[in-house]
Symmetry: C2
Subunit: 272 residues, 2 copies
């Protein structure tokens, strides 16, 4: 399959496509295929549109650090992305993007791109990947769940040791999880997709009684390596909830045991 055909065949590529309309300006369409729980289109997905635009204006292939402020809820429909290049260096290049709908800012993102294939230097890994059985031996988190409007659940496959408490009506009280994740259409998870995937999981605070969701205010993703093919093992936890504000920390490890991304978001509890 040639690259163009391949790209068109995956939901992520189709739904984050951008069309250049001027100097640093792009048109896009936010689809209703990535809807999150009671929160409109998933933030990571909308960020994916910003990253597609930034990839067009920066001369290096891989996002290395991405930060995004989600200032308004998006709605399915047309959007525009304005980008500006902050600096292009030999090894890294930084740009900013604002995604707007109806003239109002929805997401403001900053990203530094690099060539992760060319990175070299000291490596020291003090962490360990999640201790999960093979994905094939795990349970499908979404099986039997009816979540009207949560179309994002059709974009991903999630596998865990057992069903999370929130999914069976018995929140565990422990806001942490380990799980496997991949795209449902088996689109390879490349560096550009990692920031999208990092916001593609159900918030672990849903395992706190009375919490029905979490609204991402700000998301930062460090991309550390291009993932090997296959499932990603994900470790997520929230440790500090204060006045409803909480962080969610996430690690993504590839099938060869390499940490490929870390993310942290600041989010606000949604309670019953």
């Amino acid at each position: 399959m040639d690259p163009v055909t391949a790209a068109a065949s995956f939901a992520l590529d189709r739904d984050t496509a951008v069309t250049r309309t001027g100097e640093g300006r792009f048109d896009a369409v936010i689809t209703d295929g990535w809807g999150a729980l009671g929160a409109g289109p998933n933030g990571g997905y909308v960020l994916g549109i910003c990253l597609r635009a930034l990839a067009e204006v920066l001369p290096l292939p891989d996002p290395l650090v991405v930060s995004a402020s989600f200032v308004r809820r998006s709605t399915p429909g047309p959007a525009t992305v304005r980008t500006d290049v902050v600096r292009v260096g030999r090894r890294v290049a930084t740009g900013r993007a604002v995604l707007e709908q109806d003239g109002e800012a929805i997401v403001a993102a900053t990203a530094t791109f690099a060539d992760l294939g060319a990175a070299e230097g000291r490596t020291l890994e003090l962490g360990t990947p999640p201790d999960l059985p093979p994905a094939e031996e795990c349970v499908d988190v979404m099986e039997g769940l009816s979540l009207p409007g949560v179309t994002i659940a059709e974009r991903y496959h999630y596998r865990m040791r057992g069903r999370p408490g929130w999914a069976v009506g018995a929140p565990s009280g422990t806001p942490s999880a380990e799980l496997w994740v991949r795209f449902a259409d088996e689109r390879p998870i490349d560096a550009l997709a990692l920031p999208v995937v990092a916001d593609g999981m159900a918030p672990v605070v849903m395992d706190l009684p009375g919490v029905v969701g979490s609204s991402t205010m700000d998301l930062t993703v460090h991309v550390r390596a291009r993932p090997a093919p296959g499932w990603l093992a994900c470790r997520v936890q929230t440790r500090h909830v204060r006045n409803g504000y909480h962080e969610e920390d996430l690690e993504l490890w590839d099938a060869t045991g390499v940490l490929v991304a870390q993310s942290r978001q600041l989010a606000l509890l949604r309670e019953v």
Copy 2:
């Protein structure tokens, strides 16, 4: 002491002062009083100038989330800050700033401000503050150290259980630390100062043999509460070094045991 006199008497306020010169534009002077190890002015300090400018254009008092990309090394001397307001809501307001010197971008920052005094909602703390003896019983990290040009060491007081390995020529191999920190002139650490302080410590990777420093590429700070007066207890660690790139995670706890900020940076090792 009235607020104006008080502000003028503290190094941080004096050295991060901004003067409005136009719509969202400010002049500032980067001083040589916050020089870091072989790296020019400390990034957190330069970010502090951006935050002073953003505080002028946003109608809420406290930074809640701050992200900054450090794209070029700054030099002591004049700087300008261009700000733009992304969104002003009832509860939070978001703005962006670019600090430039000689027409070149040095730092691009995005910050969401809030009123931390008005925050209310669920609180659940699963973490614990660093287990440190009182600051008065700890040792002065900098005592007897001669670090030419490292003027930032005159801005802070640091106290630890014992001298860190790097400070006594015997790197421990363990890139983590717990320490007390405050401003040397006892300026109260308010919410606006927390992102500055979060980048005010020696990088823990200096406890890896052969590492002489760390260049911050990107810094994200979540401010969780206005600190109580006194020392802050700090926990810092690096767990994942890959091709020289590494994260540094930091928690700041106030004297009453409240987590007041979390930060994460992506940085690049500087080796001998």
